[in-house]
């Protein structure tokens, strides 16, 4: 299930141009992060993926179908979208009913619905709260309810807008393991994030946006080593990258895991010294 964006322009009614010529292909099963400073057009771009926004010009194809010809509620079958603010969607009396809302709208039979809801609650560590009122939960938990409610829709593409904002360490790890599960089940994941450490550890490909355009697009490890690109997009490199750079490593590390494994190499044999001496 792929997404193909061709020459996408989008202008708001008040005259602000949010996207000016975006071309992007997201292949089935990819985990791709979209980064960039506020106002770069990240959210506007991903809102085209499920048809909430329609191009001013250009096309967005989801699995070959032009989104301009489909209703948002029809595209909901292909693209699950987790909004940044959970308060814009929570309405049900219980967490379980909230999570079941999407699958019910999509007309899934009761058995499948139950399995999906159970799985989504489990993945977001909310099983114990399934009978609670969503507003009894903390903000971080409510945000996970919003994630669960989209996971339970079992869509081949999942878009997450700022999934880690307001989450504590455990919550961020949960989102990470959800992303891993989505990848293992072959789903396409698109994430918008400001959390560069999270991005480095959980996404394989990074698209960098600035001023309504894509300024870089490539494997995570390459993008985060490109200072010029990061400066243009006004984003900070992951903390491990900054650390290893300060330590004077020729080739900086991106994640904790990478740093540790390369330190291990150093311990074991100076022949693998990153300075290559």
């Amino acid at each position: 299930m792929s997404i193909r964006v061709e020459g996408l322009h989008f202008g708001y009614p008040d005259g602000v141009t949010a996207l000016c010529g975006v071309d992007l292909v997201v292949e089935s099963g990819e985990r791709i992060a979209i980064i960039g400073e506020n106002g770069a057009g990240k959210t506007t771009l991903v809102r085209h993926f499920n048809g909430i926004m329609k191009p001013t010009s250009g096309r967005v194809l989801v699995n070959g179908v032009d989104t301009a010809t489909r209703e948002v509620s029809q595209l909901a079958r292909e693209v699950g979208y987790v909004f940044q603010n959970p308060h814009e969607q929570l309405f049900a009396r219980t967490v379980r009913a909230e999570v079941e809302f999407g699958p019910r709208n999509l007309g899934y039979p009761a058995g499948r619905r139950r399995r999906l809801v159970d799985w989504a609650l489990e993945a977001t560590r909310l099983t114990a709260h399934s009978d609670a009122h969503p507003y009894e939960l903390s903000l971080a938990e409510r945000k996970r309810v919003a994630i669960a409610s989209v996971l339970a829709m079992d869509t081949p593409i999942v878009v997450l807008d700022e999934p880690t904002t307001g989450q504590d360490c455990a919550g961020v790890n949960d989102v990470g393991s959800i992303l891993a599960q989505l990848r293992d089940s072959g789903r396409t994941v698109v994430g918008v994030t400001h959390d560069m450490d999270f991005c480095a550890e959980n996404f394989d490909r990074v698209v960098v946006m600035a001023r309504g355009r894509i300024v870089a697009d490539g494997p995570t490890a390459e993008i985060f080593r490109d200072d010029a690109v990061l400066a243009e997009a006004a984003v900070e490199a992951p903390s491990m990258t900054r650390l290893t750079r300060r330590l004077g490593w020729n080739r900086s590390a991106i994640t904790v895991e990478e740093l540790v494994s390369r330190l291990d190499h150093r311990e074991r044999g100076p022949s693998d010294h990153p300075h290559g001496q």
Binding site: V72, F83, H87
Partner: protein
């Protein structure tokens, strides 16, 4: 809609202290309603409201809004008052007739409505609502009233924006909003729920945030934005107050009719 009235400008009236413009509007309205004479509201309209609108560059918008608001009302007034009245007909049209006192009544009411609406449209077109509130507070209006008015005006666009986001979020979860009357009613729950819950929790947060900034303090407060005023405007405001009181007194005692 409230946000659409005011547009920035540099005219004399735009630069007036909002309280001066408000005084002018109130004086116009009181005067227009004080007398039975037709010439008075007509003169106010032609010699005060329209020239003021021309000076501040809102004349065309004023006419457009007056037509939109009042044209149907005035037409109805003339039909009802002109045709169905007690006295003998001015013009006999068989089963119905046009009556003089009916036409007079309709004309008077129409002129008064034109002054009333025109005066307040002039105020709304040339005065930033926030500045009006600040100026009124500076003149001793309780800040709570100012908050009540400002919050109400701000909440409409904010609410609309929020309703839009909620609609997007629920449609993204497969909610169909255009599926017959029953479907529509059922779709309301997931839309109204977050709107109301959100508004309630916002009230709470807002109250705390305002209290944290000493909204309930009883001392006389100073204003962050100082709104320009002048001696001439002060004098004119006092004069308008005197005129208004005089008109009310003269009208009540039957000196002017």
């Amino acid at each position: 809609m409230t946000q659409d009235f005011y547009r920035p400008g540099t005219s004399l009236i735009h630069r007036w202290n909002p309280v001066t413009t408000l005084s002018l509007s109130l004086t116009l309205v009181v005067t227009a309603f004080a007398s039975q004479a037709l010439w008075l509201p007509a003169a106010l309209l032609v010699f005060v409201v329209f020239p003021a609108a021309l000076v501040s560059g809102v004349f065309r918008r004023l006419l457009a809004w007056l037509a939109r608001f009042l044209l149907p009302v005035i037409l109805l007034l003339f039909v009802i008052q002109g045709l169905y009245h007690q006295d003998g007909p001015l013009l006999d049209l068989g089963p119905v007739g046009v009556h003089l006192d009916g036409v007079l009544f309709a004309t008077r009411t129409a002129l008064r409505l034109l002054v009333l609406t025109g005066a307040f449209l002039l105020l709304l077109f040339t005065t930033h609502p926030g500045e009006l509130m600040t100026a009124l507070v500076a003149h001793g209006m309780p800040p709570k009233i100012s908050y009540l008015v400002s919050a109400t005006m701000q909440i409409v666009p904010a609410f609309r924006q929020r309703a839009h986001s909620i609609l997007d979020a629920q449609r993204a979860r497969g909610l169909r909003t255009a599926a017959g009357p029953i479907g529509r009613v059922r779709a309301l729950v997931p839309l109204v729920g977050p709107l109301v819950l959100g508004a309630l929790s916002e009230v709470d947060e807002r109250a705390v945030a305002m209290e944290a900034r000493a909204f309930g303090a009883t001392t006389r407060r100073t204003s962050y934005t100082v709104i320009a005023d002048s001696a001439a405007q002060r004098v004119s405001r006092w004069s308008m107050l005197v005129i208004t009181i005089a008109v009310i007194v003269l009208s009540a005692t039957g000196v002017i009719r």
